[in-house]
Symmetry: C2
Subunit: 218 residues, 2 copies
């Protein structure tokens, strides 16, 4: 049931680190289940099987634990995406893969997927971090002559919101299995890729990469 996202990574560190990890795991579960606002520090501590006051030894308040958690997850996800794309030069493929992997990776982990989705919405800094990698691929596509758009914050925001839409559908269970491909295809078309190529690229097989462990960052 509980993934112990952080807990597993901190098993053989000091006690402080383990408690900290338990708190972060509990926070992820609660943020995912109840949303950020509705989750209380009290319940995070209770679920972590830790006394109320212990929370405040490790985090100043709810905001602090939230941003720590979100940054750790997002960092791990983007790192994994980067690695999976090493060696791929074609921007059309990179862009499509990025969207598909992102949705699949996060969408298959409903527990912290929800937490991350909420965090993406709440903390603009997170969006910006994701957007950085994206921007590179989009500009590469323009340079390669594959994309016919103006790469700017508007385009990036729209692009990201499309990914989030697919992610949301996947997490809420209302989306078909191929939603990641569908979204990627629509994005490629939007960018100016001919319809047949967009369809082909967004549907080509993708070696399945299972979810990763998230190392604990201070």
């Amino acid at each position: 049931m509980s993934n112990r996202l952080f807990g597993s990574g901190a098993a053989h560190l000091g006690k402080s680190a383990r408690t900290r990890a338990r708190l972060m795991d509990a926070a992820v579960e609660l943020f995912a289940r109840d949303g950020f606002e509705a989750a209380s520090v009290n319940e995070i501590a209770r679920r972590a099987e830790v006394a109320n006051g212990t929370f405040y030894v490790h985090f100043r308040d709810k905001d602090e634990i939230a941003s720590k958690v979100a940054l750790a997850i997002a960092g791990s996800v983007t790192r994994q995406l980067d690695e999976a794309m090493i060696g791929i030069e074609d921007a059309v493929e990179r862009t499509s893969m990025g969207t598909r992997r992102f949705i699949d990776l996060i969408g298959n982990a409903p527990d912290w997927g929800r937490a991350l989705l909420r965090a993406l919405w709440t903390f603009p800094a997170l969006r910006d971090s994701v957007a950085g990698h994206l921007r590179d691929d989009l500009e590469r596509g323009v340079a390669q002559g594959a994309f016919d758009v103006q790469v700017d914050p508007v385009l990036i925001d729209v692009f990201v919101s499309m990914v989030m839409s697919g992610l949301f559908g996947r997490l809420s269970g209302s989306a078909p299995d191929d939603i990641a491909s569908r979204v990627a295809e629509l994005q490629l078309r939007m960018l100016g890729v001919p319809a047949n190529r967009a369809s082909a690229v967004s549907r080509q097989d993708l070696p399945t990469v299972s979810l990763s462990l998230v190392p604990l960052s201070a």
Copy 2:
């Protein structure tokens, strides 16, 4: 300053209706300023210059007033969009206009715009209501041979999320003035409209329609 969105419409109704309207106006302001969760019933009542307990005469709880407010606003907005598009047969133009007007209309009213944006996120029923009209236009476009896509919930979700992205940018002040056109253009391209036509249609002049009053619904 205060728009008295509901208050003005209820001026000459019974006293109960007027109090109700005052509460709804206060709720809109507070939801917009503090977000749904952070707004308290106490403060809604205080801002409406009404006793604490009066709130509960009219609404069961915060959720109820929120959904009533959101539905009223959304209904009014979609009604206004519909009216503005009477007589326009071309699906490409209709689609583009819908997006542009929606963003401009709501984006220019930061006070309740934020409230509506949050509501769209929170209440799926609202999205569905907006999606209904949209679906008609998309299918019309396919029938006219202008759009080359499969009209289904995935497409609609993606489309709506693109609109919301533009709306969010406008409301947060980070977007350029022409964001509505930009988003509409990207949407048309996604739907299969040739780039030059998408650019032209999404940039053609749009008679400015100012915001409307929202009649009070039970």
